[in-house]
Symmetry: C2
Subunit: 498 residues, 2 copies
């Protein structure tokens, strides 16, 4: 069979340079579009319809060595026919985990939203990079509009600034961004200077200190390590039984840091922790930050979506006092990976001052339109995907009302699940859910008569692993270990069906 | 009209919790799929067919304020109907720049590849995150396979390691990754220690020094600023007239750094600079790095694709001696944004040691398969899009042969363009192209009789801006300022057609 690479024949009056015919496009665009047309029904059927059908499998599981063998991964000198490539697409979908499946439970996923998906198809086809208005006029404006609306929900009455980014995220990796921001400013300025709320910034080699709750996301350690803050300058503040930062302990740590010659700089509170879904007491923390002149960051990657619910926005009371907020609509709201916003209350161009490198070949100051729209210079990246668009399109389609319903439904489901867990033999609720995380133990029949000593707990810890080992789907390991995170149609009986 | 949010009616035997009906899916999946089906023909026609049709416009240009008015960006309480959302999609496409258009010239783009596009549609629908084998079995293996093949082309006979990342890139932002890597190690280890090729690493506060060519990408400054290297520790090495780093100057800078008490650490050479497309003399630089015990990084983001061409791989002679290489297949090879690989020759798990945070809830050491496949812990991110897949699918479809043809064709086109520029009145070639960048001046009739004094050059510099101002498309500003970067069917007469 002819490979696709061979299928282009030169046109007449061909110009030959170095053995290459230059006339005509490099791709046979008719054949290429034909391939796309053939692939679309396959994608719709396999990656959308079946992948979200509760009667289909979440994943056709294969261990690595076997899967390698089945897929024929090797890249060769010659290309393959359209039929062969379509077959490869089918196999790739078949052996992939269907993250939009109603029985796939994971902290990042709540289902497949069709409006967001269409938005993503459009941006993949247009393949834009959001760095200047002239190459991404529509997406620059849409990002501005989405950020403005998110800032409204945070409650900064005088507005703010922000940026979407492809997100080094799982739950709160956006903290990194903030530390970067501060470190950058410090380094760029290079000496004591007043920029943030009037307090002095110290030169980089000073002992700059940040405070996090013991329940905050693991990205904190990564951030501290690779940005040169140094893990020894991260003070961990104990949390209470419900996973909330204890304000009195924060004050103690600030005093301790000062007594050790450190310079307290920032507190990162969490709204919706990774495991328990706990919300730190933001008002109390804001008070402490104000008294001590500290930057107040709220990692609301997971919990931020509650801002859209009139019923649950009280969980984030005090967030309007934050200096910066991270919020990922790709989780509970279903905007699709990645969709991560980083918002700052500052309106003096802090992001720009931090990240700008004034690349003269992109960001010419003498353009013929308002270069305030060339937002790329605010980002730590240069080329950037238009992640705000899919969220915007979805928001347009279902309205704030529809987003609110998603939040309310996820939390109603978690209440329902918690009740079912309490009432069912062999299940033990860890604590009443505050958010969409439901944490519980599954106690297998063999352990139900065992007294609660060290032996009991050791064995119980082994259960979640064992569940993963015997399960044909990935459902249980996530459900048991991480807790329910998504707004799905879950029946507790599913636990026994698999 | 009913909004989409209202269209879900509760099923019978509904369970009501907190005013929410829990039965049934949160989305009406039939209506959602119906919407996708209605949107697909629009996407194919507007964002694929017309967007790549030479007879259509590259962009329907509107200044920011007018475009804002036309698009109705505001997000409201209530959602809109499918018809309204489809109309919005049409408008978004209409006013967006068609980056796959044969007349769109930009340093990141070479056209729209149908195989890559289908790969991207599949991954958007499956919405995976490549952090562990159990959530992304297929994409973990495919990434491994692509990296292995790229490493083969770099020429590391004993293999290596690597990672795809959503790329803080324009041309070489991957440098950042390397500096991070080194800084991380230094910080993590916290004290003098031997890890890289047996030479001592210094604790973070030491004066660690990196060397870049004056022609290297602007991301270098960003990297140095936000990673705490400090711009004063970046030594800039002069380049020759063709934009190539001068080895003798590199040696001088190393001596200067040593005499200033700094610790030379890394040299970053460029294979394919941003503006001139110059290739640094890699063999000579490798010699210097070996003599001085320096880490040798090659930023081949733009030039790396020449490795696939038997005719042009000589441009990168010596790259096999690099310790690390950055290479972006999203540029000349058309894999689509983002597709950025970072490769290291090290096989001792350097990436893992740098970035690992051992998040226990994801990367459990006691899993039931080889956890070597849980590659997420190597990355600085946690959730990560499967950027290797689109490249793999395209490679399968057209073969190494097809990729090689793309490179050869782009370089043949640049030769052709250079000849045309030389032969045409009013155009002046800056220098013979070494790669796909063709740099030239357009001298307007009014200047053709002006003698070449300061006045002449001042006016000539104003021309590229003026061309942007009067052009109805974005073609000329890029073509004149940045040079031809893509493998298109360009006729020099296009310059006058617009």
């Amino acid at each position: 069979a002819e490979s696709n690479a061979d299928s282009i024949s030169p046109v007449k009056n061909a110009v030959l340079v170095d053995g290459v015919f230059l006339n005509g496009p490099i791709l046979d665009s008719r054949a290429g579009q034909q391939f796309v047309m053939e692939a679309l029904p396959l994608i719709v059927e396999e990656a959308i319809q079946k992948a979200t059908d509760v009667n289909e499998k979440v994943c056709e599981w294969q261990p690595p060595e076997l899967l390698k063998h089945r897929l024929d991964l090797e890249l060769r000198e010659r290309g393959e026919t359209h039929q062969q490539i379509l077959e490869r697409c089918r196999e790739v979908i078949r052996y992939s985990v269907k993250t939009g499946h109603p029985r796939f439970f994971n902290q990042l996923y709540a289902g497949l939203d069709p409006y967001s998906l269409v938005g993503r198809f459009i941006t993949e086809a247009l393949n834009p990079s959001v760095y200047t208005y002239e190459v991404s006029p529509v997406f620059v404006l849409i990002e501005e509009s989405v950020l403005k609306k998110m800032i409204e929900f945070v409650g900064w009455e005088e507005g703010g600034d922000g940026m979407f980014s492809p997100g080094e995220t799982l739950n709160s990796y956006w903290n990194v961004q903030l530390i970067r921001l501060i470190v950058c400013l410090v380094i760029k300025l290079g000496k004591a200077s007043k920029v943030l709320s009037g307090r002095p910034l110290l030169c980089y080699h000073a002992h700059v200190t940040v405070f996090f709750s013991s329940q905050s996301h693991y990205s904190v350690r990564k951030a501290a390590a690779f940005l040169g803050i140094g893990t020894r300058n991260v003070y961990v503040v104990p949390a209470d039984d419900r996973g909330k930062m204890i304000p009195e302990e924060l004050e103690k740590q600030i005093e301790r840091a000062k007594s050790e010659g450190a310079v307290p700089f920032m507190v990162s509170a969490t709204a919706g922790t990774t495991v328990l879904g706990a919300f730190d007491p933001l008002e109390d923390i804001a008070d402490i930050c104000e008294r001590n002149g500290l930057w107040f960051h709220v990692d609301a990657c997971w919990g931020g979506s509650a801002l859209l619910s009139r019923k649950y926005c009280h969980l984030l009371k005090g967030i309007q006092r934050a200096n910066s907020v991270a919020w990922n609509p790709h989780k509970m709201l279903m905007a699709g990976l990645q969709c991560c916003a980083f918002l700052v209350r500052d309106k003096t161009g802090l992001l720009q001052r931090c990240h700008s490198a004034q690349a003269s070949y992109l960001f010419q100051p003498d353009k013929f339109y308002d270069i305030g729209y060339d937002t790329g210079d605010k980002s730590i990246q240069c080329s950037r995907k238009p992640d705000a668009f899919k969220f915007w399109l979805m928001w347009k389609a279902i309205g704030t009302q529809g987003l609110e319903e998603r939040v309310n439904r996820a939390l109603a489901l978690s209440k329902y699940l918690a009740e079912e867990v309490k009432n069912r033999e062999g299940f033990r609720l860890l604590l009443e859910p505050e958010y969409a995380n439901v944490c519980f133990w599954y106690v297998p029949p063999s352990l139900r008569k065992t007294p609660e000593g060290p032996e009991f707990w050791k064995k119980l810890h082994e259960v979640s692993l064992e569940v993963g080992r015997i399960s044909t789907s990935l459902l249980l390991i996530f459900l048991l270990v991480v807790g329910l995170r998504s707004g799905r149609d879950l029946k507790i009986s599913d636990l026994h069906d698999h």
